[in-house]
Amino acid sequence: MKENQDTLDLTTPSEYKYGFVTDIDTDAIPKGLSEDVIRLISSKKNEPEWMLEWRLKAYQYWLKLEEPEWANLHYPKINYQDIIYYAAPKPKKQLNSLDEVDPELLSTFEKLGISLSEQKRLTGVAVDVVMDSVSVATSFKEQLSEIGVIFCSISEAIQLHPELVKKYMGSVVPMTDNYFSALNSAVFTDGSFCYIPKGVRCPMELSTYFRINTENTGQFERTLIIAEDESYVSYLEGCTAPMRDENQLHAAVVELVAMEKSEIKYSTVQNWYPGDKEGKGGIYNFVTKRGICKGNHSKISWTQVETGSAITWKYPSVILKGDHSIGEFYSVAFTNNYQQADTGTKMIHLGKNTRSRIVAKGISAGHSQNSYRGLVRASKQAVNARNYSQCDSLLLGDKCGAHTFPYIEVKNKTAIIEHEATTSKIGEDQLFYCRQRGIDPEAAVALIVNGFAKEVMNQLPMEFAIEAQKLLAISMEGSVG
C-alpha cells in the first residue's frame, strides 16, 4: 500500500503548464468597488442609461447580502475592495503571425492540442490579418448572419440589440439570485451573446475563441444565449489557457433560454490557474450558470470538464418549465494539490413529463477536496417527472476527499427519482496490470482516469473531447522518478 501511495504521489502532482504571463499594458482603473466605479465601467463601455441603472440596482442589492458559507469550501475572506473591477488589455504590438510568438508558448499549445486559430487568438495574433489570409472570425460571422444568427460580445449586444438584452438578461439568473450573481450584475465587463432565430439549426459549434481575439474577457463575464422555437445551438466555452488575472476572483453568470422544441448544448472545459503545489494562488471561480427550458419539448444540456481553479463553486442548472422538456448535466471535476471544488447541478421540474439526467464524475488527487452538490426538485404540478442521477468519485491517493451532497425534493407522487453513487480508488491491481503491459504509471493513471470520465467526455464535441482528454492527462502529469 505504501509503495502504491508513493507511485500515486509521484504521478499526480503536476505543475500548471500555462502559468505564463503575457506582458501587455492594461487600461486598468484603481482598486475597489463603489457606485463611482460602476459608473466608470459603464461609461468606459459607452453603455445606455438603462444598463447603468440596472448595474447600480444590482450593486445596491449586493451591498445588503452576506457572502454564502454553506459550500464545502474553505478560503480566507475575500476583500472586495482589493480587486480591480475593470482592466482592459492593450496589446503593445499587434503580432502578425505565429512566427513572432514565443516558441515555448507554442509548444505548450501544441501539447494541449489547441487548434491553430485558437493559438492565434491566445497569443494575441489578430485573426483578421494572419498570413494564411482567411479570417476565421469574419468568415464565420458572415455565414452566421446570413441565417439570422447573432453571435457577438455582450457589450456589442447592449449597443446593437438592446431589446433582446433588456428582455432576457436577468430573466433566468435574477440579479438578486445570489451574492455572486448580484456582484456580476453590477460589474460584468464582457461575455458572449447568442441569438438563434426560429427554426434555425446553427450549422457550426459556436465558440468563444474566434470572437474574443479582440475583446478579451474580464473576470466578470456575462453570457446570454437565446434559442427560439425549433432552433438548435451547440456552444463551447474554453478556458484551456490562462487568463491573465491580476486578482483572484472570477464570478461569471451564464443564462440560457430555450423556447419550444429548441435545444441548447453548452460545453465547458475550464482550466483556470489552480494555484501551486502548496495551495498558494489560483482562481476563485464562483459561477452561476442556469438555463430555462421555457417552451414545451425543449432541451438544455450542460457538459463540463473542470480541471482548474483553486476554488470552484458552480452549479449549472436547468429549470424545466415547458412540458416534456429535458435537462442534462454531465460533469467531470478533477482536483489536485490543494484545489477545492463544490460543484453539481439543480434540476427544477415544473412542467409535465419533464426528464433530467445527471452524470457527475469527481476525481480527487493530492490534498484536494471534491464535492458534488445537486438538487432535484419535482414541484406539485410536475406530473410524471423523471430524474436519473449518477455520481461517481475516484480517489487518487489517501490525502484527498470526495463528498456527495444530493438533495431531493419531491412534491408530486408521480415523480420517479433515481440516485446512484459510487466511490472508488485507483487500485494497485489496476496500476500493476497496466505496468505489466508496458504502460508506465503516469500513463496508466491517465488511462484509468480517462476511462472513468469517458461517459462525460463522450458528450463533448469531438475536437473538444480530444482537448479535454489531453488536458486531464496534463493535469495529472508529474515526474516519475
Partner: protein, 257 residues
Amino acid sequence: MLSIKNIHARVEDKEILRGINLEIKAGEVHAIMGPNGSGKSTLSSVLAGREEYEVTEGSVAFLGKDLLDLAPEDRAREGLFLAFQYPVEIPGVSTTNFVKAAVNEKRKYNGEEPLDAVSFLKLMKEKMAMVEIDQSLLSRSINEGFSGGEKKRNEVFQMAMLEPKLAILDETDSGLDIDALRIVANGINELRRPDRAFLVITHYQRLLDYIQPDFVHVLYKGRIVKSGTKELALELEEKGYDFITEQIDLAALSGLQ
C-alpha cells in the same frame, strides 16, 4: 533466456520462495505445478515485478539483463508477458485502447514509431482470428463483466498482440470449462515459436493435455522439489501431490532428528 538462481522472496514477513533455481531456453515450455500455497503465483509475481513481493536473495537474468533491476513496465517492454490469474477490470477503457497503448509503449521503448490506426487494426484482425476472439468483446471496457473464459481469452489476445519473448501463464486454466479451456489452449499453441518460451503455472494437469510441456517442475513450500518431463504431470494426476510432498516432509522431519 531466463535464468533464475536461488531466488528467495517474501511478502510482508512471510518467506514464500526459499531458493528457486530454473533455466528456461528459447522455444521451451515449462510447467510449474504444485499444491495450493506452494508459491506458484508468488513466482510469477516476482518475475513480473509486483512491488509487495520482496526478493531477499538470488538473481534473475532475462535475455542477459538483470530482471530484478527493471521496473515492471520495462520488464514488459523487454518481452516478458504475464497472463493474469485474475485479469483486472478498468472501467471505460476498451481492450482495443488498452492494447493500443501497450503496443505503442513497447514500440517507443524499441525506438519505433507508433502504429497508425490502419496498421493497428490490421494487426488486431490477424491476432483476433488466431485466438478466436470477437471484435465486440474488444470494444467493451476491459474485463468488465467478462465471463471467466472471456477474461482468459482476452489475456491470450493481448499476448498475441504484444508478441512476448517469455510468456508466463498464471493458472490460466482456473475457472474455465472444457470448451473455454480448449479455445484458450489452442490460442497459446498458435503462439508457440522457436524463439518464444512459456512458463505455465497450473494446479491441475488437464491444461497440459492441450499444451504439451517440455519440462514439468513441482513446487512445494517455496522450492522446486522435483523436475521431469510431461510424464511427471501424468504421475501427479494419478497419485496426487501427496506422493511427493509426503516424502519431502518426511525427509525434513528426519533431517531435524
